[in-house]
């Protein structure tokens, strides 16, 4: 059965990724992992990711840049930070510029993490519904408008030989 959501984990430490993937393996969404920002961007590009959990400080690129990039290119994706790094500045920058949904710290609690992800996905679902509904309202509004211009009123006369009006 195809799972409805995709969650991407990005962390430069493979052991962390594996542990996270283990604790999420029975959850009702697909879990993808990436051991670097590059790999993360790749995965984002290839598959439609709904939620991304990322450490913010990774060696190759600045993790803040990464989150900013994700926010810009995939604004519909919920971003959560899971970090054990003690780098204060980077954390603040990531939060302010990366537009994150929640900031979690290591060591993490598996159950808390699972609940957080589920709640976040529910939030996402609501947001998407909201967007779809707004679009639908837009569309309907246009239809009503078209109808008005298309319908100038009554101008035609139909009658039979006796002059009776045909209804």
């Amino acid at each position: 059965m195809e799972k409805a959501y995709k969650v991407l984990l990005v962390d430069d430490e493979v052991n962390v990724l594996n542990a996270l993937a283990r604790s999420l393996r029975k959850e009702p969404y697909e879990v993808l992992i990436a051991a670097s920002e590059m790999e993360g961007l790749n995965k984002l590009y290839v598959s439609r990711v709904d939620l991304i959990i990322s450490d913010y400080k990774m060696p190759v690129h600045d993790g803040v840049e990464f989150l900013k990039r994700v926010a810009a290119d995939y604004p519909d994706t919920i971003r959560i930070i899971l970090t054990g790094h003690a780098d204060m500045e980077a954390a603040i920058a990531a939060i302010n510029e990366g537009g994150v949904y929640r900031f979690l710290t290591k060591p993490w609690d598996d159950q808390d993490l699972r609940i957080t992800i589920r709640l976040a996905l529910e939030h996402l679902k609501l947001q998407r519904e909201n967007r779809a509904l707004s679009a639908e309202v837009h569309k309907q509004k246009q239809i009503l408008k078209d109808l008005e211009t298309e319908h100038p009123g009554i101008s035609q006369i139909n009658k039979d030989e006796t002059g009776a009006i045909l209804i």
Partner: protein
């Protein structure tokens, strides 16, 4: 109730102190709070004003908060119920979420956590309510479109009243060779006739006049529902002479017939003065009566059309109105999006503060990565075992069924086992077990390495300084790490004749160990490490030189910082040099670095001889 001042958060907690604290925190954050100590009070208030967010203590006296939760949701399904739980265990929180809570906060409560959770709850509530409203809106629109569709088709197949009636009357007048004619239509009240069409000389003067039921010829005809033939108006008292006076026309002879549809008078038709000057005859009346029913139907149809037209117009204006409402609703959606962003910005602001405290906890944070996955792996391990145990117990059952030759049970269990094996992903699980244990062990090794380094770092004045022979210390250290060095480098010793220094031998060992390990790690394949000791200006110098990768200039100022490392994640702690630095500083010595990328690095430690 006044929208502006109505509370938007409801708190239910039997602890008065907690109520006061939460109210205080949330009021400061700009919420309007109402707090209650009993379930009955809270539900009562909520019924009157269903707030977007409810804060619910899980253990209210004897009543379990989870049982109360559905009562709130029943009253207002969009409300976000936030659970406060005193339990360190998250099980109750999970149960609450299953019962419809949207999130939980664990005591002791951090103000930022509470405010953030409430904010998210409001956001969610607003989204839900908004979506519900939009759905309602859409359903309304669809109904309207259907209605419009139906009415439009009806209207386009019918016609406008006046041109048709004019046509009909001209036809009638010609047929009866009359000088003039008029058509009167009964109004909705059924008490008054309105002249809809008047043809003939001076006719324009009569247009739109009204005639009361029973008044004049037409009034009589409408009241009596009978046709009337008046050969000479001057002799008929029913004739209302005012008409002629108003119009300046002289009526001599006329025919009048009621227009009936299903027994109801819809109008009266009058034909006046034969053109040839003669009076109308019975024959003329018969002719009029032969087609007056058609006229009646025409009028009725036209009236219906008119009604439809009016209702269509009304509908159109309602559509317009609705369209305006919709565009406003859209504006609201956009506005709520802006608010969402705003809320998020504020959330970030306070998360920042929350983060500050945590990060201030300091160096121990570096071990949170390994601790994190060690803990998580242990949880997973437990789950794996549970899965495996389930499988094993089924297998045992299977075996005993096999021994009993219980065919039915065997095939049933075989199916179950197969299913269970697939569900637990047995193969994946088993092959992952080894990796799980391996990685966990790596984690514990890493933690103990960090802890060891930190201990060396923190071990301040343990013991008393003693005279130390550094050449001996170096030899000792080399034997300890021989295994790490021998595959990487040729170790060349150039030990000079040096005096003893005063210091802690164990700590000094640690310094050399860290420098030597770094040197070995800097060598990609195979290289050389030179160790030279010398006496100089009241100091003893220890030089450790490698021909490895070297340190890029931009890194040089940072290598002594705690946690600065360029090594693979999970490999270097970045503590080695900072520990060495701390120890040397304590011994009143100094460390110098000299490095060139691609050529190698030289660390020199100077320690005072104390003379």
């Amino acid at each position: 109730m006044d929208q502006m001042s109505a509370p938007n958060i409801l708190i239910l907690d039997d602890d008065l102190f907690a109520r006061v604290v939460y109210s205080e925190i949330l009021s400061k954050a700009g919420y309007r709070v109402s707090a209650f100590g009993t379930v009955a009070e809270a539900i009562e208030a909520f019924r009157g004003n269903p707030t977007g967010v409810v804060l619910l203590d899980l253990f209210l006296g004897d009543e379990n908060g989870i049982k109360i939760l559905p009562q709130f949701l029943e009253i207002s399904p969009d409300t976000s119920v936030l659970i406060i739980t005193a339990h360190a265990s998250l099980d109750t929180a999970v149960e609450a979420i299953h019962s419809g809570a949207y999130d939980y906060v664990v005591k002791p409560i951090q103000p930022e956590d509470l405010v953030n959770a409430v904010r998210r709850g409001r956001e969610k509530h607003d989204l839900r309510a908004e979506n519900r409203r939009l759905v309602g809106e859409l359903i309304g629109q669809v109904h309207q479109l259907e209605l419009i569709g139906r009415i439009s088709t009806t209207i386009t197949s019918t016609l406008e009243l006046d041109p048709l009636l004019n046509l009909v009357m001209e036809h009638t007048q010609n047929l009866l060779q009359a000088e003039a004619s008029s058509l009167m239509i009964m109004d909705e009240s059924g008490l008054e006739l309105r002249i809809a069409v008047a043809l003939g000389p001076k006719a324009e003067k009569l247009e739109h006049q009204t005639i009361k039921l029973g008044q004049g010829i037409a009034g009589w005809v409408a009241a009596e529902r009978k046709p009337l033939f008046v050969p000479d108006t001057s002799r008929d008292s029913r004739f209302d002479k005012n008409f002629d006076r108003d119009s300046g026309f002289q009526t001599r002879s006329l025919l009048a017939a009621p227009l009936l549809v299903r027994g109801k008078v819809v109008g009266v038709i009058e034909v006046i003065n034969r053109k040839d000057g003669r009076a109308f005859s019975d024959l003329d009346l018969g002719l009029l009566l032969s087609f007056s029913p058609h006229i009646a139907v025409a009028i009725e149809n036209a009236r219906i059309t008119d009604d439809l037209k009016k209702s269509h117009e009304k509908l159109e204006s309602r559509v317009n109105e609705r369209t305006r409402e919709l565009s406003q609703a859209l504006g609201d959606v956009e506005k709520s999006n802006v608010q969402l962003k705003h809320a998020q910005a504020q959330l970030i602001q306070s998360e920042k503060l929350a983060g500050l405290g945590q990060l201030a906890a300091g160096v121990a944070h570096e071990i949170n990565n390994p601790i994190g996955y060690i803990q998580s792996n242990l949880n997973s391990l437990q789950e794996y075992f549970q899965d495996l145990l389930g499988l094993i117990s089924r297998q045992t059952e299977f075996l005993s069924a096999w021994k009993r030759k219980d065919r039915e049970k065997i095939s049933e269990l075989a199916r179950e086992l197969d299913e269970l094996g697939r569900k637990t992903n047995l193969d994946g699980l088993v092959s992952d077990l080894g990796r799980l244990v391996d990685e966990t062990r790596q984690g514990t090794e890493r933690v103990s390495k960090i802890v060891k380094n930190l201990k060396a770092f923190a071990r301040a004045d343990s013991g008393k300084p003693e005279p130390v022979n550094l050449n001996e210390r170096l030899e000792e250290t080399l034997t300890v790490i021989n295994n790490e060095l021998k595959y990487k480098a040729e170790v060349v010793r150039e030990f000079g004749d040096i005096p003893r220094v005063m210091g802690m031998p164990g700590e000094l060992n640690q310094v050399f160990l860290n420098l030597l390990v770094n040197a070995a790690q800097a060598i990609p394949k195979r290289g050389e490490i030179r160790i030279r000791t010398f006496a100089q200006d009241g100091h003893v110098g220890v030089e450790i030189k490698d021909n490895g990768a070297g340190i890029p200039e931009e890194n040089l100022p940072r290598i002594f910082d705690p946690f600065f490392t360029t090594k693979a994640p999970g490999k270097g702690t970045g503590l080695g040099l900072s520990v060495a630095y701390g120890i040397v500083e304590k011994h009143k010595g100094r460390i110098e670095v000299d490095s060139k990328v691609g050529q190698g690095t030289r660390f020199t430690v100077f320690l005072p001889t104390g003379e």
